[in-house]
């Protein structure tokens, strides 16, 4: 199966009086890894659930491979949403894997077997008896081995220790390179996962803040590093996202582009310019208005 394209058109979801998603619209091109970022309660899980046909939108449309996914047998067969803890068969680990293998036409049994070894999952243990981290690892195994044309990971790393998380990121990237498909990964651990993203979507309070390529986002800000006095003089009046100081050296993250003249002046002052970190940008964009002012 070829990777699916994902398109959201003015998507809104309400829970009674609460607006979980409000007119969200963006596109994820087939065969890309998209990071879905947002604070707690921003609407990430609702968005992924709607895309995966777990629920209907209140308004607007979700199009997966050009069709609405809800109760669409062809499209649903190509979507795999892995939520925290995984929606797996309440049985032994090997039974849960066999079940996924029987249903998923794109299942890779050898990859699943290798990942089970790598994450040290006890095959004969009951899924209920697994720790939170191991359950998350089982969800990760099913998500990767399913090789679904649209794979959605909703904070799948929760409970995993650092080596397991990095193993997951490595496996995801390696398998994606070998078998490109569309992957959406929601996460709070931005520093850990930003290297994976080709496309980034940031939502806050149910509204879309940013949907852009990682490359373009990296150019939407700049870090200025150098002697503290020179840095402060350079950034005076600019939109500062973050300031760090170590001894007489300061590093300031600015939001916005620098023109050629500003770059020349920074060079004259002996300052080093670098790309903005996604986490800094995320914190700035999602900060409450009183803090951002």
């Amino acid at each position: 199966m070829t990777p699916f394209r994902l398109e959201l058109q003015s998507l809104s979801v309400r829970y009674g009086a609460t607006r979980a998603l409000d007119g969200v619209g963006f596109t994820v091109e087939p065969g890309t890894i998209c990071g879905l970022l947002g604070r707690n309660g921003s609407g990430k899980t609702t968005l992924l659930s709607t895309v995966a046909a777990f629920r209907r939108p209140t308004a607007g449309r979700v199009l997966v491979d050009g069709e609405t996914p809800f109760e669409n047998a062809r499209v649903m067969a190509g979507i795999c949403l892995v939520r925290e803890g995984g929606d797996v068969l309440d049985d032994r680990v090997d039974a849960a894997l066999r079940y996924a293998a029987r249903i998923r036409s794109t299942w890779d049994a050898s990859l699943a077997a290798r990942l089970v070894e790598r994450f040290e999952l006890p095959r004969r243990a009951s899924v209920k008896a697994l720790s939170r981290g191991k359950r998350s690892a089982l969800g990760a195994v099913i998500g990767l081995a399913s090789r679904a044309p649209l794979t959605l990971f909703d904070e799948v790393y929760l409970g995993m220790d650092a080596p397991s998380r990095y193993a997951f990121y490595d496996e995801l990237l390696a398998d994606y390179m070998a078998h490109p498909r569309t992957i959406v990964l929601s996460s709070h651990l931005i520093d850990e996962v930003e290297r994976l993203f080709e496309h980034v979507v940031i939502i806050d309070h149910g509204r879309l803040l940013v949907a852009d390529t990682s490359e373009s986002l990296a150019r939407s800000g700049v870090t200025v590093t150098g002697p503290a006095d020179a840095v402060d003089a350079f950034v005076a009046g600019a939109n500062v996202l973050r300031r760090q100081e170590l001894g007489r050296t300061a590093a300031v993250t600015l939001h916005g582009h620098l023109d050629t003249e500003a770059e020349r002046r920074a060079s004259e002052l002996g300052l080093t310019l670098g790309a903005v970190g996604l986490q800094d940008l995320f914190v700035h964009l999602t900060a409450p208005e009183k803090d951002a002012a």
């Binding site: 079940y99 890779d108 049994a109």
Partner: protein, 241 residues
Amino acid sequence: MTSSRSTHPRPTPQRVAVAVLMTSLGRVLVWFVPIVLAVPIVLYALIAALGGELDGSGVMMGVANNAPAWFLFAMGASLTTQYLPVNVAHGMTRRSLATALSWTFLAAAALLALVLPIGFVIEAWVFEAYGWTREAGIGLASPLGGLGALIVDAFLRFAAMASIGALAAITYYRCGAWWGSLAALATVGAPGAIVIYLSGDLGAWVAPSVTMAVLAATIAVVNLSLHALVRGATIRSKEAQ
């Protein structure tokens, strides 16, 4: 890395779902059937040991009428809510699960209806062994007719109860505790009353053909309602499950 593929054609997801549901049910049935058959035998042994005597099939009849029906009611409810999120998460439609549930209920009801006469045969041996006599028209000689009628009647009642359990569960799943309880008047109360009425003494006033037609209609209505509710269900968050 290559995908591991079988040379046999893949079963449809719906068949896989039926197989998994039947396996899940079968694991419990393996324990349930021997227990249900053993309970009356143990009771008869106790009565005989205390010097008592029975002239009817009340115990086996009571167990045979009620235990499989309520067992399938509970399993219908459990399977529906357990497998709905799992199946959708594995890329299957809700309607394929609803169809798989209906087939599973029919198969399980048929299996238990076929086991039912074995209980009466065992009971007949026990009565003979203790020198007790049985009333005519009880057990294998069902009031509805012969053995065939007994099996068909049991099959319809068991299938109805499994479907009612599933309907009650999906209503609670979709509507929550308050509205689910209120709706239970329609989802459990009305069809359950029909099944219980027809399987009790009052049902003896109804012609056997009418009993079977009403039970078949109840199964059809309950399963259509089940399909309608499952097809539109929102898969709840993990925390809410």
